[in-house]
């Protein structure tokens, strides 16, 4: 998990032209110390964001700022807007359930996810150059708040807009798959395959994550039932008395001990497996956003090309008739050509970036999942061995009991 990385030299950050030759450039961030601020409905959690870097654009080797969830959202939205084609790292969801919002577990999960989010940005060779990132990591709270509120206008894409884009892209994909209509879409078969892959992957992952969560619950339930069972067995032992009673008491005590182990394992499973799985789902959803952006860019390009064609026809008409509208039309035509070039460049950038990103993404996910699997297996082995050890320690006494 990237969270464990502090000073990384892998994955990027080596291309900065102005980096001092004495030390490899690094930018590492940590999100810590969640604190509840405010009261009642207005209450929220604030986090300490600590930046350690030797990037020349940054003010000094270490900086600490206070940020809240909406600040992270701002950063994500800005990056999404500016770096089209790049898979922007996902953010944990906004929680709507009131009483859950301030539970220790939720806060810890969110903190971990936010930490991962910022670090992924910091490690991305392009995103780490972002000015918005610098603002986020360094600006004082007032500047941050101003920046946040300014962006409700032009740049801030409302979540509902984003969802609409998702839905559009999704329905267009299914429409194409079903052969319904012929929208303005790329006809790149490889890209089609990728789109389908992303959409189906999300479904599979969501299913897997659901089962992972259920497994966490089962651990908790088993733990609880063992605790209750242990208690009842202890009481039974008190009734029986003599050596048998003692054996019962010890069995009960072991049960209670194992109950704690199970609760611990449930937590470990939640943090080190289920959460990474959720993160995977979010990442795929973020990619869907990029797919939507690409579709937009493509559409723009096509529309502009069509507009230009029409303009050409007009222009030729004006040329022939030597109309006074000609110069204006020429001017417009030139503008359109410039725009069209821009649009084409934008689109092609997105395509190029996406191709790189998909490779990076897959590699990252293999690593992330590999680690998650490792943690899962490690935890399960630890639990099972712990259970075996605990029960085994009772055997000598039980042997003695049988022979008595």
């Amino acid at each position: 998990m990237i969270t464990t990385q502090r000073s990384s030299t892998g994955g990027g950050g080596l291309q900065s032209p102005r980096s001092p030759s004495s030390q490899p450039p690094y930018l590492s961030v940590s999100v810590t110390d969640p604190a509840k601020m405010g009261n009642g409905v207005q209450a929220y959690i604030s986090y300490k964001v600590i930046t350690k870097t030797n990037f020349p654009e940054y003010q000094g080797p270490e900086k600490i700022v206070i940020r809240r969830y909406t600040d992270f959202v701002w950063l994500r939205d800005r990056l999404f807007e500016k770096y089209k084609g790049i898979f922007i790292p996902p953010l944990p969801e906004k929680s709507t359930v009131e009483k859950f919002r301030f539970s220790a577990e939720f806060i810890e999960m969110r903190r971990q996810a936010l930490d991962t989010f910022v670090n992924r940005i910091a490690l991305h060779h392009e995103l780490q150059q972002s000015e918005d990132l610098r603002t986020f990591l360094q600006a004082d709270e007032q500047t941050m708040e101003r920046a946040r509120s300014q962006d409700t206008g032009i740049f801030k894409r409302k979540p509902s807009d984003l969802m609409q884009i998702f839905r559009d892209v999704q329905s267009k994909v299914s429409d194409v798959v079903l052969g319904k209509e012929k929208p303005v879409e790329e006809t790149n078969p490889e890209y089609e395959k990728l789109k389908r892959y992303i959409f189906e992957l999300e479904d599979h992952l969501a299913e897997a994550q659901k089962h992972a969560y259920r497994l966490v619950k089962r651990h908790r339930e088993l733990g609880q039932s063992l605790a209750d069972f242990g208690k009842a067995i202890k009481l039974l032992g008190a009734c029986e008395g003599d050596a048998l009673g003692t054996a019962f008491s010890e069995l009960g005590a072991k049960s209670e001990m194992l109950s704690i182990k199970l609760q611990r394992e449930a937590h470990h499973l939640l943090m080190n497996f289920e959460e990474p799985l959720k993160d995977y789902v979010r990442a795929v959803q973020s990619i869907k956003g990029t797919i939507a952006e690409r579709a937009n860019a493509f559409r723009q390009q096509v529309e502009l090309a069509e507009t230009i064609k029409l303009k050409e026809i007009d222009l030729n008409k004006f040329r022939l008739t030597r109309s006074e509208k000609m110069s204006e039309a020429e001017h417009e035509y030139e503008e359109l050509k410039a725009d069209s070039e821009e649009a084409t460049k934008r689109f092609e950038t997105i395509v190029r970036l996406m191709n790189e990103e998909i490779v990076r993404f897959q590699e990252q996910k293999t690593q992330d999942m590999g680690l998650a699997f490792h943690e899962f297996a490690k935890g399960q082995a630890r639990l099972a061995n712990g259970i075996a050890d605990a029960w085994r320690s009772l055997l000598p006494k039980l042997e003695a009991l049988s022979s008595s």
Partner: protein, 541 residues
């Protein structure tokens, strides 16, 4: 689940392990293990379940002496994963085995429920239907005159048997019979209910067979052997027999056979609770007394002097409470283990699906690698799920001991109330005797004062003296009966404690061995995967 059909096709076309082919059939299986009792019975069908080990014979059904051909059990580890507690008096042994000391063996099984119609003069068209069960007995006891025989009985017959045994074996801890549970029969599926009842009947009859005294009873023998209609009369209601016996008994006791044909009843029969008492008044007295008592409450009129007994009673009461609680918690624990097994299996399956998807869609090598990692995790999860299931089926067996003894200890109530009512009988007779003596004395002194004596008074005195003689007899019978019941109580408590402790020792050992063995295996499986994926931990992103 959607996509499963496609998956099946893809399985056959790709070179996958056969293990996964079995795994996918799980999609079609929809057995729910939600109800504990059905979990108990469906566990016996577990061998059909695709997530269960295919080659294993079900330990719940097969006799314990059969060796389990389970190749996965490592003989060097705590191999007693299939540890079965040795039965207390070796009833599980095959009767054909030669042994020097032949212990009595009586094994009863209940099977093949069948619907039958009450072929009687019922006014209702279509008649009543009821279920009969095949009762199979295997024994080496001479009283039965044969090693194996069967009979068909219905639930009503079992109720009769139970009532008769309670009546005949006062002071003994008679295992309680299965309940009539009308409500459940409406709620549950018919076949589920019948299966549950069959299971309960088998347990009950087997417990009777294990009781050293009851197994020799005529009532049980008749129940198990006599073909056709059960020749045991159900116990009539107290009131009806009261009226029946009350008028007859006095004449019978005094030798009056003029009613014709009734059997001479001995004084010892008098000592039955006033159902068959000759004095109607005594019936009323006893009933009043019994109603104001409850066997757990304070009864100042019955002087139970035996403090040892009282201590035992309290201890057993407490034990009953704790056993009930422990049994319930054990049930919940077993359910939680079952749920864990199931969810682990479903989890594994979900990842198998993801693996297949990733493999089919793979464009980059890294995807294929991820798919391979995922597959290892998933198959291990499925293996772990199987192991959990196995663990649980043994746990059920072991912890069921708690439930069994909870049932046995309930028999204590009838035994103790037998004792109370016997004591009540003695005391009532004593009180009566005292009043008879007082009566006699009064008649005696008054008659001697009258000149010449009053002929009627002399006659009356004679009658009273006769009544005293009879009542003295009755008292000594009642006292003997009380002492007998007390002794039965004592031996039964001893037996119950002894057997329970022995069973619990075995239970603890079996349970723990089982947990150790299977947890070790599960730990090993996961350890392998942890090892294989340890590279990811060192890489660290």
């Amino acid at each position: 689940m959607k996509g499963s059909e496609n998956q099946k096709d893809r399985i056959s076309s790709s070179k996958e392990e056969s293990e996964e082919e079995i795994l996918f059939h799980l999609d079609d299986s929809s057995k729910s293990f939600s109800h504990y009792r059905s979990a108990m019975s469906t566990l016996s069908d577990d061998s059909d379940h695709p997530l269960a080990t295919p080659a294993e014979s079900d330990p719940l059904l097969s006799p314990p002496s059969v060796q389990n051909p389970n190749s996965r059990i490592d003989p060097l580890t705590y191999a007693d994963v299939n540890f079965m507690p040795p039965n207390r008096d070796n009833q599980s042994q095959n009767p054909s085995e030669e042994s020097e000391i032949v212990l009595p063996y009586l094994k009863i099984t209940v099977s093949s429920p069948q619907k039958e119609v009450e072929s009687s003069n019922s006014i209702v068209p279509g008649g009543n239907t009821f279920v009969t069960y095949l009762i199979t007995t295997k024994t080496n006891m001479a009283e039965f005159g044969g090693p194996q025989f069967t009979v068909r009985r219905r639930f009503k017959d079992v109720v009769t048997l139970s009532d008769r045994l309670i009546e005949a074996y006062r002071g003994f801890f008679i295992p309680p019979r299965p309940e009539k549970s009308v409500v459940e029969s409406q709620v549950m599926q018919k076949h589920e209910f019948v299966e549950q009842r069959r299971n309960a009947l088998e347990k009950y009859l087997q417990r009777l067979a294990e009781h050293p005294i009851i197994r020799q009873s005529d009532e049980l023998r008749v129940f198990l052997q006599v073909q056709g209609k059960l020749p045991l009369l159900p116990t009539a209601a107290v009131t009806s027999r009261m009226l029946d016996g009350a008028t007859r008994l006095s004449k019978q006791l005094l030798g009056d056979d003029s009613d014709g044909g009734s059997v001479r009843i001995h004084p010892q029969d008098v000592v039955r609770p006033a159902k068959s008492r000759w004095d109607f008044l005594r019936i009323m007295k006893e009933m009043n007394q019994a109603m104001s008592n409850d066997w757990g409450g304070t009864k100042p009129s019955i002087d139970e002097e035996d403090t040892g007994f009282l201590q035992n009673k309290e201890r057993l009461l407490n034990l009953e409470k704790q056993l009930t609680s422990a049994s319930k918690q054990a049930e919940l624990f077993v359910k939680a283990q079952q749920d864990m097994a199931e969810t682990m299996g479903e989890f594994g399956l979900a990842f198998i699906k993801l693996t297949k998807f990733e493999n089919e869609q793979a464009v980059l090598d890294t995807q294929t690698k991820r798919a391979a990692d995922m597959k290892n995790l998933a198959t291990t999860a499925i293996r772990a799920s199987r192991l959990y299931r196995e663990l649980n089926s043994h746990t059920v067996k072991h912890l069921d001991t708690l439930h069994d003894h909870m049932g046995l200890i309930l028999g204590v109530h009838t035994a103790f109330s037998d004792r109370s009512s016997a004591l009540l009988t003695v005391q009532t007779i004593t009180t009566e005797l005292d009043s008879l003596y007082a009566q006699a004395e009064k008649l005696d002194t008054s008659s001697s004062k009258t000149y010449g004596g009053d002929k009627s008074k002399t006659l009356k005195l004679g009658e009273v003296r006769e009544a005293i003689r009879v009542t003295e007899d009755a008292k000594s019978c009642a006292t003997r009966e009380y002492e007998r019941i007390k002794e039965n109580n004592r031996t039964e408590i001893e037996r119950l404690d002894r057997e329970r402790k022995a069973d619990f020792k075995n239970m603890l050992k079996g349970f723990v061995l089982n947990q150790v063995g299977l947890s070790e295996k599960i730990g090993k499986e996961w350890g392998k995967i942890a090892e294989e994926t340890s590279g990811y931990a060192n890489h660290g992103g």
